[in-house]
Amino acid sequence: MQLIHCPWCGPREEVEFHYGGQAELAYPERPAELSDQDWAEYVFYRDNPKGPFAERWSHNAGCRRWFTAVRDTRTYRFLGTAKPGEPLPVTQQREARV
């Protein structure tokens, strides 16, 4: 089984972790001025890159803390993990939104 490196607990089995979706989503600066379309994009629209992707993961069975992981979506290989607020361990690929 694949091991995921928890920034606190160290390498642990993948089943101890829980996926939390795309990381680094900034809350709108002026929420009152957002249109319905902007809200929809903020709440529901997510990147879907082929390659490195920054995600939130939670170490559910261990320290129960959230952290950021960069995972390659082509190979499911974890490229690095970081505590919240720390810089991303690997640059992620962002899809240009049309």
Binding site: M1, C9, G10, R12, V15, E16, G62, C63, R65
Partner: protein, 209 residues
């Protein structure tokens, strides 16, 4: 008239089976431990909060992940970067919660009595690590998991708080409702240790057949 309910140990019904297993398998001793008071402590890891809590407990909070330290009558266990579990064999849970809550509330911390959450099972003996390794993915050899370390991980299908008390001495804190499952897992998994197939004499018998 209402019946009087007596508090029973969650593993009371497995006690006899575990004792039989310990007697049958040399090098393995498994038994449920007495209930202890447990308080979950939340406070900022750096700064005055942690220091004040350390002074109140008489020992510094273990800052290193996956470690625990002794207190006067229990243990202080790392659960997260800002979370610890205090166990106390003789303490009154409500009293501990009140006293420590008073200390940490000044630093936006919290102390919660979680005595009813977990119970503990003790595994000792030279086969204890062998048994655990059949359901736990961690490297439990003393070089990687020495006395004084702990881990929150899976054993079988349940989450446990696993403490290394010595080289062949483990304490497993498990949720009370999963304690029966864990005891059954131990009893079931230890079946293969009863036969001791890795013993040279047993292997010789197998090859003759």
């Amino acid at each position: 008239m209402a019946d009087t309910l007596f508090r029973t140990h969650p593993l009371a019904h497995r006690r006899a089976a575990l004792a039989e297993l310990s007697a049958a398998v040399g090098g393995l001793s498994v038994y449920p431990e007495d209930e202890v008071a447990a308080v979950d402590l939340r406070v900022g890891p750096v700064g005055p909060g942690g220091d004040a809590l350390g002074r109140a407990l008489g020992t510094a909070l273990p800052a290193e992940p996956n470690t625990w330290t002794h207190t006067a009558d229990g243990q202080l266990i790392w659960l997260g970067p800002d979370e610890w579990l205090l166990t106390s064999a003789g303490g009154d849970p409500a009293e501990l919660e009140r006293e420590l809550g008073w200390v940490v509330s000044a630093f936006d911390g919290a102390a919660v009595d979680v005595s009813a959450q977990r119970t503990s099972l003790r595994l000792r003996g030279e086969l204890a690590r062998e048994l655990l390794s059949l359901g736990c993915s961690l490297d439990l050899r003393p070089t990687a998991f020495p006395a004084g370390t702990c881990a929150q991980t899976h054993v079988g299908q349940t989450v446990v708080l696993l403490l290394a008390l010595g080289a062949d001495d483990f304490r497993l804190f498990v949720r009370q409702s999963f304690a029966g499952y864990l005891a059954d897992w131990v009893l079931d998994t230890a079946e293969e240790l009863r036969a001791a197939p890795c013993h040279p004499a047993a292997l010789a018998n197998l090859s003759e057949e």
